[in-house]
């Protein structure tokens, strides 16, 4: 098993520009320390129609109302910063916001992983090659490449992005690694509720028992800790 940079085709070059946009990094920094409720706010705003902040504050009183003002230092400020950045993403237009949302989930995954493993071991857009096995076309969004144990992450904005192809690619990588006597943990990261992901997965027959699912409620597990229970 070995890792390789993905080919830089035209799509990859365009997408690399999105990934490098400062707004993506800003959003990832904010979401890395966000509560699950604040992450749902980001998801709603980046999926939403309303471009003014006021109505969103009304929709999420636990994040902006009196309770938020009484919360720990910085809670309300973080809610405001997430709202502002999310509105910027939503304001980029339908096509662009879709690319941004995917890039944000990837950047967030990378940032959370860096709290558990050495940043040097974390790579983006990598293919995994196995002896005698044709390489997959699509690279993995994020990989952890460390001696003894490797991890491969596929990042999705929503549960609807879960497909049989994705599940097969992740499980195939795990099985091929195992055949070489190596350990590879495949992980599906979805910025959506587990309930919606389970609904999506229930209709698929593709193998997934060896694939770990991380959802919007449990993103902090990427960093090796449990999610906070507060809003």
């Amino acid at each position: 098993m070995r890792f390789q940079d993905a080919a830089r085709d035209a799509r990859a070059v365009v997408y690399a520009g999105v990934q490098a946009d400062p707004l993506v990094a800003r959003m990832a920094v904010l979401l890395a320390d966000a509560t699950p409720g604040q992450r749902v706010l980001a998801r709603a705003v980046m999926n939403g129609e309303t471009s003014e902040p006021g109505p969103w504050r009304t929709m999420f009183p636990a994040l902006f109302g009196d309770a938020a003002r009484r919360a720990a230092d910085g809670f309300l400020e973080r809610s405001e910063a997430i709202l502002s950045a999310s509105l910027e993403v939503a304001g980029r237009g339908e096509q662009v916001r879709s690319q941004f949302r995917g890039a944000i989930v990837e950047a967030l995954t990378e940032r959370l992983l860096a709290r558990r493993v050495s940043p040097d071991a974390i790579r983006r857009e990598r293919r995994i090659l196995f002896d005698g096995i044709p390489a997959e076309i699509h690279p993995y969004d994020v990989t952890v490449e460390s001696a003894g144990a490797a991890e491969a992450y596929d990042c999705k904005w929503g549960a609807r992005g879960i497909s049989a192809d994705v599940l097969h690619q992740l499980d195939d990588a795990r099985a091929h690694a195992e055949a070489e006597g190596r350990r590879l943990l495949p992980v599906l990261v979805v910025f959506d509720a587990r309930r919606s992901c389970e609904v999506r997965l229930a209709r698929h027959t593709a193998p997934r028992t060896g694939t770990r699912l991380v959802t919007i409620e449990t993103l902090d597990r990427l960093a090796g800790r449990r999610s906070p229970v507060s809003a």
Binding site: L41, T50, M59
Partner: protein, 101 residues
């Protein structure tokens, strides 16, 4: 719950996702009904919901739900409606202070 029904009607334009759309509708409506039943049991004497651990006022909750429904109703694109079939219940449960979405 009626807003979810309206999202379903819009999302059904995406033929390939018919089963997923109705599966989402089924599980999220069940979750919202369960939360509503719990809230009814815990309701305070003045009628305000005891959800949100008592930290939010009834007025804040009512305004939040009303505005969330308006946001969902503003979604016209069927693909975005599918996204909102998952987003609306999550946001509603965050507003209510309910866990385990």
């Amino acid at each position: 719950m009626a807003a979810i029904g309206r999202l379903v009607a819009r999302a059904e334009a995406v033929d390939d996702e018919w089963l997923y759309i109705h599966d989402l509708e089924t599980v999220w409506l069940a979750r919202l009904r369960a939360v509503a039943a719990d809230a009814a049991v815990d309701a305070a004497p003045d009628g305000a919901s005891a959800a949100a651990s008592g930290e939010l006022s009834g007025g804040e909750l009512e305004a939040a739900i009303e505005r969330l429904v308006a946001e969902a109703d503003a979604v016209s694109d069927p693909h975005r409606a599918i996204d909102w079939l998952s987003t609306l219940p999550q946001a509603t449960l965050v507003a209510l202070g309910a866990g385990a979405w």
